[in-house]
């Protein structure tokens, strides 16, 4: 049964309305603070999965794209406050952040995606370091001292500003999931899957692999940038070392891999599960320990359950009686991998 996209979107908007109403009903602002972070991870891991899960190209630079969005907001904020202009609404900031990150993603992809996949991964890893260097040296956005952003206390129809940020992030998460699902069931998605399964064969059958990969990096980068754009307003004080921190990179990889990379459900499950777990662990244990937990879970899952939680559920539902007799598939070794 395939739900049509508008229906799918409506269902999610309904769920969002319920969650938002319930959160307001609880009348505790901490829920919005914690929920914002979890939702931010939903966007990041869904975005990562568009390139990583669908195309099979690993991006270690999620933090860089995220920070690009955040710092473009800071730059605009400085520009606006210095010139006494009206405040720019956050959705516009998100669009700008998305465009900036998307362009950088496109450029990175153009330079490295013509080569083997590993080069792209390494380049993204280095990108984070270099962008951090640029930001540290760029005094306009605060340099290494960091930048303060004073967010308004209230906003007209919703009231408390954190609720507004929460709502926006929730809508972005819904948009990200819808985009991911739309890609999955389109020509684009089948093209991505062919790249993931056998790039050489795909290229030989006339799939424009480079163009598709560039589309994937651009969409994925843009979504990460959009997730980063409201972040300065959330955190209030933006600092390079924490914005470019490894925890964004590791989380946005760990969440899809733990949830399952084949569809939009995996990153969602991974992010909700791991994100909430981290929020609880940060409060109850310590933030360093919870990162250790994420790292160990990541290694554990890639070794033991290659298809993540979704894969585990799938094999559980699809197991047949003969699986219990002790028959095993014949293991074949691949002698030489085609690079």
């Amino acid at each position: 049964m395939i739900v049509r996209t508008p229906v799918f979107l409506l269902i999610w908007l309904g769920i969002c309305a319920l969650v938002f109403a319930a959160s307001i009903g609880l009348n505790n602002d901490y829920i919005f603070f914690a929920g914002y972070v979890v939702l931010q991870y939903v966007v990041l891991s869904t975005a990562w999965n568009i390139l990583g899960g669908y195309c099979g190209y690993v991006n270690f630079g999620s933090a860089a794209f995220f920070a690009l969005g955040a710092y473009s907001s800071v730059a605009i904020y400085r520009l606006v406050t210095e010139n006494d202009l009206y405040g720019i609404p956050i959705p516009v900031l998100m669009l700008i952040g998305g465009v900036v990150s998307g362009v950088v993603g496109f450029g990175m992809g153009y330079l490295t995606l013509r080569l083997r996949g590993a080069f792209f991964a390494i380049a993204t890893l280095a990108l984070a370091v270099v962008l951090q260097t640029l930001v540290v040296n760029w005094d306009y956005v605060g340099g290494s001292r960091g930048a303060y952003i004073i967010r308004p206390e209230q906003i007209a129809p919703i009231g408390n500003y954190i609720r507004y940020l929460f709502l926006i992030m929730m809508l972005l998460a819904v948009a990200a999931i819808t985009i991911a699902r739309l890609i999955e069931h389109s020509r684009l998605g089948y093209g991505f899957a062919s790249i993931r399964d056998d790039e050489l064969a795909a290229e030989a059958s006339g799939v424009p692999t480079l163009r598709l990969k560039l589309v994937a990096t651009t969409i994925s980068g843009a979504l990460m940038g959009m997730a980063g754009a409201p972040f300065p307003y959330y955190i209030g004080y933006l600092q390079p070392s924490s914005t470019f921190g490894l925890d964004y990179a590791v989380n946005s990889i760990a969440m899809p891999l733990i949830g399952g990379t084949t569809g939009w459900v995996g990153p969602l499950i991974g992010a909700l599960l791991l994100g909430s777990l981290q929020q609880i662990a940060t409060v109850t244990i310590s933030s360093a320990v919870n990162l250790l937990i994420v790292g160990c879970l990541l290694v554990f899952f890639v070794i033991i359950a290659p298809n993540g939680i979704v894969g585990l559920i799938h094999t559980y539902l699809q197991r047949k009686p003969e699986d219990f007799v002790g028959r095993r598939p014949v293991e074949t070794e691949i002698p030489g991998q085609v690079p």
Binding site: T112, A121, A126, V129, T133, C296, V299
Partner: protein, 291 residues
């Protein structure tokens, strides 16, 4: 800043010395990524681990850090061989190394770093040895011993590796496994065993490189991240898997970085390696001495 010839010469010399150290840092990755095609992005984490072990040996027993790291070589070798075994069984055998294998190494990098943070904290650590501090002077030239000693030892290490790879049976088998695994199997050699040995050696170099690192600069757990870009830039620029190429590329990067930090300020130096990496990938992906 006023341009001066002395400054230029000193910057170039210190770049060459630092380059020698970079070569030692990269040699392990040249072996694993260049020859075995294993994208071990966790290598910097093992280098930091090496630094901390050298620090512990130096702080508690007063042992020379380089000596301590040489004693630790077998331990790192066993660690590397073990990691390769896990990697082979879980990823290479199933043909999943491109996505999950990378994530595996990323996880290792992360776990090592966080564990070090939890155990040692984020304070900078340093070692003490007789050659840290003094430097030799020739006319206007400064040769700080704390960089000269690691540079010389690392050149010895690379020469030894090169002789191993080109002159011994095992070394030639390692080169062969990179070219054709099936052919090696037909010659009755187990390619997995050869790869395990080679990966063990590649991680073992991290022990020495770690000792060099903590001699040259104070170390805290996240320092390794700065080296990821450098290591892979050097490895790609030198031509994958070519040790002489690695040395040349390392010195080139060292010189350019040193010139950048002398004339523009040290905070710009990390961007240099990335520029190198992108330029190489865009212009000549085979590297300087590529096959």
């Amino acid at each position: 800043m006023v341009f001066s010839f002395d400054l230029l010469i000193n910057a170039v010399i210190s770049g060459i010395l630092i380059g020698g150290f970079y070569a030692a840092v990269t040699s392990g990755v040249s072996l694993s990524f260049g020859i075995l095609d294993i994208v071990n992005i966790a290598h910097p984490a093992f280098i930091i681990l090496g630094s901390y072990l050298a620090y512990v040996a130096n702080a508690t027993l007063g042992v020379d850090p380089i000596l301590a790291s040489i004693v630790l070589l077998p331990t790192f070798y066993v660690l590397g061989a073990g990691i390769y075994q896990v990697y082979y069984v879980s990823f290479e055998k199933r043909g999943q190394e491109s996505l999950r294998g990378l994530a595996f190494f990323f996880g290792l990098l992360f776990i090592t770093e966080v564990t070090l943070v939890l155990y040692f904290g984020v304070d900078y650590r340093y070692v003490e040895a007789s050659y840290i501090g003094p430097s030799w002077h020739f006319a206007a030239l400064d040769l700080p011993l704390r960089i000269l000693v690691p540079c010389l030892v690392s050149l010895v290490l690379i020469a030894a590796l090169q002789i191993f790879l080109t002159r011994t049976f095992l070394g030639r088998a390692v080169m062969a496994v990179a070219q054709d695994q099936l052919a090696l199997r037909l010659m009755a050699v187990d390619p997995i065993k050869i790869k395990r040995i080679a990966f063990g050696i590649s991680i073992a170099t991290a022990s020495l490189a770690g000792a060099f690192l903590i001699i040259i600069q104070p170390v805290e757990p996240s320092v390794g991240r700065e080296y990821i870009g450098r290591i892979f830039a050097i490895c790609v620029l030198g031509g994958m898997g070519s040790l002489p190429g690695t040395v040349i590329a390392a010195m080139l990067l060292g010189i350019v970085e040193s010139l950048t930090s002398t004339f523009y300020g040290p905070s710009w130096a990390p961007a240099v390696s990335f520029g190198f990496l992108l330029l190489t990938l865009a212009v000549r992906p085979a590297g300087l001495l590529g096959r």
